[in-house]
C-alpha cells in the first residue's frame, strides 16, 4: 500500500509539474489557460488520492474546492478575459523557448538540491514528490519574470499557488482547514483584483504587454 501511495504521489506531482512546463513551449494564451486548468485538475485528483490513502475526509473537501475554483471557475474567467483581448498580438517572451526549457531543467535540478533537508527528515510515502513541487515553484517564478503579457504573468502566479498547495499536500497532508479556507479566499480575491487590473491596463495602455508599463523609472 505505501508503495502504491508513493508511486501515485510522484506520478501526480510529475503531472502537475509537466503542466507548468507545457506553458513554456506552447504559444498563445488559450493554450496557457488549458495548461493551468489541467494542472489544477491533476492537483485536485492528487489531493483526493492523498485523502484516500491517509483516510482524511477533510482533503476531499479541499480537492473539491481546488477543482471547482482553480479547475473550473478561474480558467473560465481567464478565457473570458482572453476572448475580450483576442486581437491583441502576443509579444514575444523575453527568453526564447529553447532557452526557457533549459533554464527550467536547471531550476528543477536546483529544486532537488534545495529540497535535500526536506527529504532527509521526511518519512511520509509522499516525500518523493516534494522536490517536484519545489521545482514547479521555481519554474512558475521563471514564467512570471520571463513573460511580457500581463495575463501570462497572472497564470504564472496561479501556478505558483498550485506549487505551494502541492508542497503542502505532499509534505503535511494539507494545512489545517481554517487556513486552507483563508488561503482559498485570498487566492480568489487576489485573482479577481488582478482581473480588474487586466481590464484597467488594457483600457489605459491599449495593450496587455507588461513591458509597456515602463513610465515609472528611478
Amino acid at each position: 500500500m505505501p508503495l502504491v501511495f508513493s508511486q501515485v504521489a510522484v506520478l501526480g506531482s510529475s503531472g502537475v509539474l509537466l503542466c507548468g512546463i507545457i506553458l513554456l513551449w506552447r504559444r498563445g494564451v488559450p493554450a496557457y489557460i488549458s495548461a493551468f486548468a489541467w494542472q489544477s485538475i491533476v492537483l485536485a485528483a492528487l489531493t483526493a488520492a492523498v485523502g484516500y490513502f491517509c483516510d482524511d475526509p477533510q482533503l476531499y473537501w479541499v480537492a473539491g474546492l481546488l477543482f471547482a475554483i482553480k479547475g473550473l471557475a478561474i480558467p473560465r474567467l481567464l478565457r473570458k478575459v482572453a476572448r475580450r483581448f483576442e486581437r491583441v498580438v502576443e509579444p514575444p517572451p523575453y527568453v526564447n523557448t529553447a532557452t526557457s526549457l533549459v533554464v527550467s531543467g536547471l531550476l528543477i535540478l536546483l529544486a532537488y538540491a534545495a529540497a535535500r533537508p526536506l527529504q532527509a527528515i521526511a518519512d511520509a510515502p509522499t516525500r518523493g514528490g516534494m522536490p517536484l513541487a519545489m521545482g514547479l515553484l521555481f519554474v512558475s517564478l521563471f514564467i512570471i519574470v520571463s513573460r511580457r503579457k500581463a495575463i501570462t504573468q497572472v497564470i504564472g502566479f496561479l501556478m505558483l499557488e498550485n506549487a505551494i498547495a502541492l508542497l503542502a499536500v505532499l509534505g503535511t497532508y494539507g494545512v489545517p482547514l481554517i487556513v486552507e479556507l483563508g488561503v482559498f479566499l485570498d487566492a480568489l480575491m487576489g485573482f479577481l483584483v488582478m482581473q480588474i487590473f487586466l481590464y484597467e491596463i488594457h483600457d489605459t495602455f491599449s495593450t496587455l504587454d507588461a513591458g509597456a508599463l515602463n513610465r515609472l523609472k528611478h
Partner: protein, 488 residues
C-alpha cells in the same frame, strides 16, 4: 464572551466603518466623520492593550487562542491605530477644500478601513498561517486604492504592486508550509501547530536545516512587503502614485507589519538553529536596502518618490537592527514607532502640497512657508525627523541602532550603513530648503484651508519631539518586554 473586549474594540470599529461605507451610497461626509470617531475607539483599545501588555506576557488571548496579544502585538497595533487615525482625518472625503468626488471618498473609506482591519488582524492573530492570510489581504485591499484617481502611472504602479506583492507573499506562504512540515514530521499533527505561542515553545526541537530553508522563503516573502531591496521595486511606484493617505499607511505601518512577521519568525528560527544564520541573512538584506534607498535619494527630483526611497532606507535600518542582538532589536522597534510617526506626517503633508502646487517635482514647489505656513512647517518637521536630526525621535533610535551595531561586533557593516545614512541625509537636506523658501509660483494661492486637519498632525509632531527628548517609561518598558519575550 469569546474575545476579550479590547481586541474587539481594536478590530470591530474598522469592520463597522467599512460596512458603513459600503451601505451608505452615495458617499456623504458624515460617513467620514464616523470613521474618524471609530478610529479613535480603536486607538483607545490599542492603548488598553498596550497598558495590559506592560504587566503580562500574554495580555489577552481569545477562546481557542485564536487571537493573542503580547507586547510586540501591542506596539505594532498602536502604530497602526495612530497612523490609520491620521489617514482617516486627512484622507479623501472630509475636506471642504479638496472636494474629492463622492466615489473616491466612499472607496477610500471602504477599502482603507478593510486595509487597516487586515493589518490589525495580522498583528493580533495567533496562527502564523492566518497572519499570512491577513497580510495577503492587505495587498488586495490597498492595490484597489492606488488608482483612486486613474492615470497611466497609477495603474502601472498598482499592477507592479499587486503582482510583485502577491508573488512575494506567496513565497512567504511556502516558507510557512515548510515550517509546518517540519513541525508535523517531527512532532506529529496538531491543530494548534501554527500558533506563535506553541511554535516558540517547541522551536528548540525542530529541525534546523528545514527551518533555515523556510526562513529564506519567509524573509524574501515578507521582505518584499517590507520593501527590502532587491525586492523593493514596487515600493517607490506604489508609494508615490497612491493617494497621500494611503501612502502614509503603506509607508508608515504596512512596512512595520511585514517587519513584525519577520521578527516573529526570526525568534522561532533562532531558537532552533541559532542566531548566526538569520543574522547573516538580515545583515545582507538590510545593508542592501540602506544602500539602494540612500543612493536612490541622490538623483531623485520627485518629493513623493524621495519619501518612498527614504522608506526603503529606513526599512533596511530596521532590518539591520534586528540582526544586532537584543540592543539592536530594541533600537529597531523604537525606530519602527518613530518612523511610523514621521513618515505618515511627511506623506500626509506631501499630499496637501501636491494638491496646492499641482506638481510632484521638487523644482515645482517653492515658497512653501509663505503659501502654507503650517503645512510647510509640519512637512519640514517630518523630513528633518526622517533625516535623523535631533530633537526628533529618529535621531535617538538611529543612534541606539548604530551603537548596537558597533557593540555587537558588526563594525564594518555598521560603518557602511552609517556612511550611507549620511549620503541619504545630504540628499534630503539639499532638497528641503528649495521647497520651503523663495517665491511661490504666481499661480499658487496662499492660505491654509481646513486648519483643524493639522491638529492631529501637530500632536504627532509633538510626539516625535517628545520621543527624541526622553524615552517615556511606558515605551521603554514595553519594548524591553518585547526583547525579553523574543529571547534574542
Amino acid at each position: 464572551m469569546s474575545l476579550p473586549l479590547p481586541i474587539v474594540g481594536l478590530l470591530l470599529p474598522w469592520a463597522t466603518s467599512a460596512l458603513l461605507a459600503l451601505v451608505v451610497r452615495p458617499y456623504r461626509a458624515p460617513v467620514g466623520w464616523v470613521s474618524v470617531g471609530l478610529g479613535l475607539v480603536s486607538l483607545g483599545s490599542a492603548g488598553v492593550l498596550w497598558a495590559a501588555a506592560l504587566g503580562a506576557d500574554t495580555a489577552f488571548a481569545g477562546r481557542n487562542d485564536l487571537f493573542r496579544v503580547d507586547a510586540l502585538s501591542a506596539l505594532v497595533a498602536m502604530c497602526v491605530a495612530i497612523v490609520a487615525e491620521l489617514a482617516m482625518c486627512l484622507g479623501p472625503g472630509l475636506s471642504a477644500a479638496t472636494p474629492d468626488d463622492a466615489r473616491a471618498g466612499g472607496r477610500f473609506r471602504l477599502h482603507g478601513s478593510l486595509f487597516v482591519l487586515a493589518m490589525l488582524v495580522a498583528v493580533t492573530i495567533n496562527n502564523v498561517a492566518l497572519m499570512w492570510v491577513a497580510i495577503e489581504a492587505t495587498t488586495i485591499t490597498s492595490a484597489l486604492l492606488i488608482p483612486l484617481h486613474r492615470s497611466k502611472a497609477s495603474v502601472e504602479a498598482s499592477w507592479k504592486y499587486i503582482l510583485i506583492g502577491s508573488v512575494g507573499i506567496a513565497l512567504a506562504f511556502a516558507g510557512t508550509v515548510l515550517a509546518y512540515f517540519d513541525f508535523v514530521t517531527l512532532l506529529g499533527r496538531r491543530a494548534d501547530a501554527l500558533n506563535w505561542s506553541l511554535l516558540m515553545h517547541v522551536a528548540p526541537s525542530l529541525h534546523p536545516d528545514v527551518l533555515r530553508l523556510a526562513f529564506v522563503f519567509l524573509v524574501v516573502g515578507y521582505g518584499t512587503k517590507a520593501g527590502l531591496a532587491p525586492m523593493h521595486t514596487w515600493l517607490p511606484d506604489a508609494h508615490s502614485e497612491a493617494p497621500a493617505a494611503l501612502s502614509a499607511m503603506m509607508s508608515g505601518v504596512l512596512l512595520a507589519v511585514a517587519q513584525y512577521a519577520v521578527l516573529r519568525w526570526k525568534a522561532v528560527v533562532d531558537l532552533a538553529a541559532g542566531p548566526a544564520f538569520s543574522t547573516q541573512v538580515l545583515l545582507v538584506l538590510g545593508l542592501t536596502s540602506v544602500a539602494v534607498g540612500a543612493l536612490s535619494l541622490v538623483p531623485q527630483r520627485n518629493y513623493k518618490r524621495l519619501l518612498a526611497y527614504s522608506s526603503v532606507e529606513h526599512s533596511g535600518l530596521i532590518c539591520l537592527g534586528l540582526a544586532f542582538g537584543p540592543a539592536g532589536v530594541f533600537a529597531s522597534l523604537l525606530h519602527m514607532l518613530n518612523h511610523a510617526l514621521a513618515k505618515s506626517t511627511s506623506f500626509l503633508m506631501a499630499g496637501r502640497i501636491l494638491h496646492r502646487y499641482k506638481s510632484a517635482e521638487v523644482d515645482g514647489v517653492s515658497g512653501l512657508l509663505r503659501t502654507m505656513p503650517a503645512t510647510g512647517a509640519l512637512f519640514a518637521a517630518g523630513v528633518l525627523a526622517l533625516m535623523g536630526l535631533p530633537p526628533f525621535g529618529l535621531f535617538v533610535s538611529e543612534f541606539l541602532l548604530f551603537r548596537a551595531g558597533f557593540v555587537s561586533g558588526h563594525v564594518w557593516t555598521t560603518a557602511a550603513a552609517l556612511l550611507l545614512a549620511g549620503i541619504g541625509f545630504v540628499a534630503l537636506a539639499s532638497h528641503l530648503p528649495r521647497m520651503l523658501y523663495g517665491n511661490a509660483p504666481a499661480s499658487v494661492a496662499a492660505g491654509e484651508p481646513d486648519r483643524w486637519m493639522l491638529a492631529p498632525i501637530a500632536a504627532c509632531a509633538v510626539a516625535m519631539v517628545a520621543l527624541g527628548l526622553f524615552l517615556p517609561g511606558v515605551v521603554g518598558s514595553l519594548i524591553g518586554r518585547i526583547v525579553e519575550s523574543l529571547g534574542s
